[in-house]
Point group: D2
Chain length 430, copies 4
C-alpha cells in the first residue's frame, strides 16, 4: 500500500534544478553545500541533498578524498561561540547551559549529514559514503574525526529498535537473494543452486536483519543447519545431499555455520550478537525439539598466532606452540596430528589474549556474546582457506539462552571464558 | 514476511527479570536507570529499557514529573571532563578535539533516550513520554532542557527520508482507520459512516505519513475533495451526498479541506509542509485533468485579533477594524455583512503580522509553505466553532508547484505574501 | 503485485460498445445473449458477458423473473441431437459415446453461465443472480431447473480446495469488517465497538473462509471465545468486559458462539462443517493448552416443536411435552422451571427426528458434522429471540477431532447421536 | 493474512490413515476410490482424495496407464438409469427432465475428478495427472474420452475470470523466477544473469497469468522489449547490452519476443490470446508514448512446408517454392538470398492454408487473435533452430487494439488475413 511517486517528484525537481545549473556549467559541490546548509526552502534543501549525493557518487577517488577533507576542515564549529557557550556553562552548569554548549560544540558536519538524510534513499547513499571513508582512514587517519560523526548518527538511525528480522527462503525476492549470494563472506555461495540448497531445504534456515530505510538490503544474515547431532565438519553441511528421510519433529541441534555482515559502511554498528539470540528464539518456537544451539566457526587467527614469536603468559603454551612448529604440519599430513592440533587450538582459544579478551576475533565475538567453547573438530574445514588459517580445525560455540547474560557479564568484568567441562582435561591451565 | 517473535523473547526475559525483582520488591526506577546506563550485557540493557518504559507508563502524574526532574538534574555531564575537553579544544581547535568536546558535552539524558530506543516498540513509548513532558512545560519551564534533548533525537529518528506516504481508504485496516477518526482535529468525524464518506468515494481521497517504527500510527494526514470548481463552503464538502454522475476524468480541482497532526509527542517535528507537496504530486499522476490545488482553511486567529486592542501598523486597518466592531455582528446576522467581513479578513491575513510573518497560525503554515492566498469565502463554515473563530469565513490557499519554492524564499527573506491578483482591489495597501 | 488494469481495459471496451448501442437504443438482452453464445471473438464475448451482467443488475423484479423464465425455456438442448446421441450410446455404451451424450444433454444454460463467468468480477454477480433466483423459487417452482444448473457450476467453482481461511481481526480492512457486521446472523453486532470487542481482544478470535474470485467477500465466518471453562450463557460472552488478567497460556476451552453464512446466493454449497474443523486445528496450534472445543448454540426448533401436536415415537416424550405445556411458562417465570426445560430440550434434541436425523436444524448441522451433545444450559439466552425459540436454553456441541469422523459415519449410517455420558440420567430412552 | 495450517491438519489425518493401512498392507487404489466415491464423511473423503493423489504420484508408467484405463472403463454411467432418464425426457422434454438426463449421463469420472479437487493442492496434482494422460493418448486413443472429462472441468476451474496478471521482475520470488527459467520455450534462458537481463532492465518487461489455486505456478508468460523502433532480429533483443541512455518516456514500440505456455497439463485451455491483449493495456497505461505493439515471432512451419511436396492452390506459389528449392540454400549462404526467402515466407504465411486458416501454427495463433502481418525480417534468427525452421526469417505480427476484434471476426468467418499495405507488392495474389 506504500508507494513512492515522491521519487518521481524529486526526480522532476532535480532535473529542473540541473537545467538551471547546466546554463552555468555543472553543479558545483560548494554551491550544493551552501544550498543544503543555508536557509532556503525545505524542498530546495532536499533537492540539494539529492544532487549532492548524486554528484558525490560520480566523483573519482581523488574527488571523494577532497570531499572528506573539505568537510573535515570546513564543517567544524565556530570557536568563538563554543567559547562563549562554555563560559556560560562554566559559570552556571545548568541543564540548559549544557544543552547550549552541546549545540555549539556540534560539528557542522553532523548537521550536514542529518540534512543529507532528509532526501529519500539517502540512507543507502550515506552508508556507501562511509564505506569510501573507511577505505581512506589507514592513509589519512586525520579523517577519523569525520568517521566519528558518521558513527554518531548511524547509531541513532540504525537503532536496534528499528530492525526487522526476516526469514530468507525460496519465496524471497531475487533482488534480496542475489545480495545474499554476493555478501556471503564465510563459505562462498557458488551459484543459485548452491543458494537454494542453503535456503530451500527442510533442514536449512536463513535469517537476516533489515532496516526499513535500506530497501532489499540485508544488514547481516546467518545460515543455519538443523540436524540430530552437532556436525563435525563444514563439508557435511555444505555438501549434504541426503534429503530423503528428514523428520523436522526430530531435530535436536541448530548449527549457525555462517554469519556475514553485508554493509561495510555499517562497520562497528553491531547487529550480530542480537541476530543470533533472536534466531535462537525463532527456532525454539518453530522446532520445540531443538535443544542445542551451536556455531560451527573458523579460527581465523590460529595459524597467524602460531607463526608469531610473541611470548604467551604461559610457559606450557609456549612449549606446546614450539612442539607444534617442529612437527612441520602441511595440508597433506594434517590427519596424522589431529589430536595435537586440537589441543593447541583449544589452548589458543582460551589462553591467547589481547588485553583480557581472546586474541581470536571470532572467539572474541561469540564469547563476548555470552557463548561458551563447546567442541573442537579437527579436519573440519579442509578447504585451502581452512587449512591455511587453522589446519582445518573448527570450533562449536554453544549459545545457551539461560546463561548467555551471566557469561557475558563475567566476560566483561573478568575476561572469563566459559567452556564445556569435557574439554578440561586438554587444558594446560584453568 | 517480517515477524516479531522477538517481542515474545523480550517478554520472556522481562518476566524472568520481574521474578527476580519481585523477590526484592517492585522494580525500582533508579535500579533500572543504573542497569540501562551501566556496562552490563546488551540483552540486559534492552530488558532494562523495556522495563523502564513499562514502569514509567504505570506512574501517576506526580511520578512522571519526578522522573523528568530526576533526569533533568542527574543526567547532565561531568563538569570536570567538559572543562578538560574544552581546554584541549581551546588550545587546539582540531576536528577531533571538537568531536571530543561534543561527546563530553553531550548530556547523559541523550544517551539515556538513545538506549531506551534500543528496545522494540520504544519509539511509540518515547513519543508518549514527550507528550507528557510537553504537558509539564508551562508550569515547569526548567524542564524545557529535557525537551530539547527529545527534539534533538526525534529529528534524527523521524528524518523525512524515513517517512512513507500511504493512501487511506476502505481497504485500510480498522486499526489505522480507528485512529483517523480519533485524530481528526479540524472537522470531527462523527462515526464510521462519516469516515467512509471521506475515504471511500470516487471524489474523495485521504493520505497519511507513517514511520516504520510506529506501526499503524499515522503521523499526519490530509483529506482531499476532488471536484470541478473550488468549493465555497465546508458544508458542501462534508455533506455532499451526490455521487451519481461523477466522472473522475473531468476533475479540475483538488481541495485539501482538513490536515491533522496525530502525535502531540512529535510537536515541532514538522511533516505537514511536505505532505501537501507530495500529495499534489500523487494526485497529478492519478488525475491529469486536475490543474488547481487549494486548501479550504479556517482562520482561527481572526476573531481573537479583532477583539484585541493592539494597534496595527496601518491606520486604514485600524479604522476597518473599528468599523467592524461597531457593526455588532452575531451569528444570526453574518449573512448581511459578508462583504465587509471578507474584506477585513483579507486584510487581516495579509497585513496583521507577528514579526515579519502572518499573525494567523494557519496562514503562517501555508504561506510559509509557499502557497498563496487565493479566495476568501464568507458563510463558508457556519458551525459554532467557525462562527466563533472568524464569523464563518474560510480561505483557499493555492499550491502551485511551479512557484512554491520562489514564494517560500521570498517569504523567508522578506516576509512577502503572494495573493491572487483579483483580491488586489480589496486590499488596503500593497 | 497483482493488479487489474484489465478492469479498465474492459471498462473501455464496454463503454465503446455502449456508444455503439446508444445509437440504436439501449442494449437488448436478447442481442447480448446472442453475442455471448455466438461465435464472435473472445473479447467480444467477454464484453457481452460484462454488459449482460450489468444490464441484468439494472432490471426490476419483473425483468429479472422474465430473464430466468427466458433461460429456463429457451436454453435447453436440441431434442433431436440428444436423441441421436442417446441412440448411439444405447447401441454402443462406450466412454466416448457417453461423453457425447453428456455434452448433448448439457442445457445451454450451463454454457451460458460458464461464459458469463469469463468476465472479471462475474463470480460476484452470478452469486447475486442466484440469490434473486432463490427468492423466486417458492412462487415459481419450475425455475428450480435453472437453480440446479447454478448449483452444478458453483460446486465446481467454489470447490473446497480453492478456499482460504483467514483470521479476522483489527488489522483486517474496513471493507471486510463492514461485511462481518452486516452478515452476522446469530447475535447481531451493534456497531464498530461491538465488533472490536469480538475480534480485538486476547480471548476472542474470528475466522472466515474466502474464495479468490470474491474479493473482500467472506463466505462464512465463525466467532470464538477462549476461556477457562465452558461458558453457560451467551451474555457472559457478549458482555464480558473483564480483560485485566487474561493469560493466554491458561485457556482450556474454545467456544464457537456464532457461525454465519454470508452469501445467500451460495445456499447449499456448504462450507460450515469444514470451517469448524479447520479452525479447531488453528487454535490447537496457537494455544496448546486448549483441550475442549464446543459450540454455544441456539435451539431454534424447540418451541415450534413444543407447540406442535404431532405425536413422537415415544410415549414418554409425548407425556413430558404435555406436562411442559401445562406449566404455562412465560418469559418471566423461566427461571423457576429450568430443570424441567433442560430435560425436555435434551430429549427433544436426541429423540425428535425428521426421518432418522434430528429435527432441530442446528443440531442436525453439528451432529451431522460429527459433534456430540455436551451440555444443556437453562437461562443461557434471555434475549427476546432466545426466549421465543427455546425458553432461553442453549446447548454446547463438542468437537473432538478424534471422534468426529467415527461419529459422522455412525450418524450417516444409523442416525446415531453421540452425547455426554453425564446427560444419560435425564434421557427418557437410550 | 491467509495461512494454511490446514495442510498440517490434513497431513496429520493422512498419516493416521496410513498407520491404519500399514497394518493391512499399502493403501490400495481401489479402496481409496471406493472411499472417495462412497458416502463416508467429508473429512474422510478429503483424506482419501489426498491419499489417492499421493499414491498416483508414486506409480510407475504402467501403473498410471492402468489407472487411466480403470477410470475409462469403470467410471461411466449406469446404462439403465441413463435410459430411464432419456425415456422420461423423450416423452416430456422439460428443463428438469433435461437436467435429470444430464445428471444421469454424467460419467462418474467427472464426479471423481471433482471430488479429488476438494483436497488442498489438488489443482496442481490434477494438472500433472492430465499431463501424464496426454502422453498416453497417441498410443491409446481410447483414453481421449478421459481427457474430454479433464478438459470439461479444467475449463470451469481455470475460467478466465479467475486469472490474475502479474508483472515478473527482480522483486519476484525466486520460486517463481526459477520456473520462468525452466518454462521459457522459445528463446532459452541460459542462467540467472540472462533472466535478470530480461526482467530487470528499464527497457524490458515480463508478465504472467496465475491462477489462485496454483501457487507460484505461472500458466503462461510473455517477454517484452521496449524500444524506439521495431527490432529486426532476435539477437538485437537478447544481446542488447546498451543500457546507458534509455529514456522511458521516449519508447514508441513494444515487442513481444517470447510467449511460453508453462503447463502442458493445461493444453487447449487457452490463455495466450488474452494475455497479449491485457499486457498491451498495461503497457499503454505505463508508457503513453508507445504506439506500436508487435511480436517478433518464429515461423516454425516454413521449412517443413518448403520440403513437402503437396501442391498449393496457387501455381505461382508452387513455382516460387520450386525456385527456392533449386537455390540450395544452407546456413552459410542465407545472407545472399534474403530477398527471395522473405518473399516466399510472406506468401507462405498468407497463402499456405490448413482448411481456411494459416498452415503455420504461430501465424494461426496471432492472426486468429486479431493481429496482422506487419514486417518480415531476413537473417533475424541465425541460431541453429532459427535457420533450420525458417532460414533465419522472423515476422512481426501487429496488435492494434482498435482492429483486433474486427480482424478476428473476419478471420473466423472468412479466413481473412490482414497485412501491412507495404507488403502488398511482394504478394503473389491478394
Amino acid at each position: 500500500m506504500a508507494f513512492n511517486k515522491f521519487q518521481d517528484f524529486l526526480g522532476g525537481l532535480v532535473a529542473r534544478q540541473r537545467d538551471r545549473f547546466s546554463k552555468s556549467g555543472t553543479p558545483d559541490i560548494e554551491e550544493l553545500l551552501d544550498s543544503l546548509m543555508g536557509n532556503t526552502g525545505e524542498v530546495s534543501a532536499i533537492v540539494a541533498a539529492r544532487e549532492l549525493l548524486d554528484v558525490y557518487e560520480g566523483l573519482d577517488d581523488e574527488g571523494k578524498k577532497d570531499f572528506f577533507f573539505n568537510i573535515e576542515k570546513n564543517f567544524n564549529a565556530e570557536p568563538a561561540s563554543v567559547k562563549l557557550a562554555f563560559d556560560t556553562f562554566d559559570s552556571d552548569p545548568s541543564s540548559s547551559n549544557l544543552n547550549r554548549l552541546y549545540r555549539s560544540a556540534e560539528p557542522r558536519r553532523v548537521e550536514l549529514l542529518r540534512r543529507l538524510n532528509q532526501t529519500p534513499g539517502a540512507a543507502h547513499d550515506l552508508v556507501g559514503m562511509r564505506k569510501d571513508l573507511l577505505g581512506l582512514l589507514r592513509d589519512h587517519p586525520e579523517l577519523s574525526a569525520v568517521d566519528e560523526n558518521f558513527m554518531h548518527l548511524f547509531r541513532s538511525w540504525f537503532s536496534r529498535g528499528f530492525l526487522l528480522l526476516q526469514t530468507i527462503d525460496w519465496s524471497t525476492s531475487a533482488a534480496i537473494l542475489n545480495r545474499i549470494i554476493r555478501y556471503e563472506a564465510v563459505h562462498a555461495i557458488k551459484d543459485w543452486d548452491d543458494l537454494r540448497s542453503r535456503v530451500d531445504r527442510p533442514n536449512r534456515r536463513c535469517f537476516a536483519f533489515f532496516h526499513p530505510a535500506l530497501t532489499d538490503e540485508p544488514l547481516i544474515f546467518v545460515e543455519v543447519a538443523l540436524s540430530n547431532e552437532i556436525p563435525g565438519s563444514i563439508d557435511s553441511i555444505l555438501n549434504d545431499a541426503a534429503e530423503g528421510d528428514i523428520d523436522p519433529t526430530k531435530f535436536t541441534t541448530a548449527t549457525f555455520y555462517s554469519i556475514s555482515n553485508c554493509q561495510p559502511g555499517l562497520k562497528n554498528i553491531s547487529f550480530g550478537n542480537f541476530l543470533i539470540k533472536q534466531v535462537v528464539q525463532e527456532l525454539k518456537a518453530d522446532f520445540p525439539s531443538i535443544k542445542q544451539f551451536v556455531t560451527l566457526s573458523p579460527i581465523p587467527g590460529f595459524k597467524r598466532w602460531l607463526d608469531c614469536d610473541t611470548e604467551e603468559g604461559s610457559a606450557d603454551l609456549d612449549e606446546l606452540k614450539a612442539q607444534m612448529r617442529s612437527l612441520d604440519i602441511v595440508a597433506d599430513n594434517v590427519a596424522e596430528y589431529e589430536e595435537a592440533i586440537r589441543k593447541l587450538v583449544l589452548n589458543y582459544l582460551l589462553l591467547a589474549k589481547k588485553g583480557k579478551y581472546p586474541l581470536d576475533p571470532v572467539a572474541r565475538f561469540h564469547i563476548g556474546n555470552g557463548a561458551q567453547v563447546q567442541q573442537i573438530h579437527a579436519s573440519a574445514d579442509l578447504s585451502e582457506k581452512g587449512l591455511a588459517q587453522s589446519y582445518g580445525v573448527m570450533v562449536n560455540y554453544l549459545y545457551d539462552l539461560r546463561y548467555i547474560e551471566r557469561n557475558h557479564e563475567q566476560y566483561v568484568t573478568e575476561g572469563n571464558i566459559e567452556f564445556n567441562d569435557k574439554l578440561k582435561a586438554s587444558l594446560l591451565k584453568g
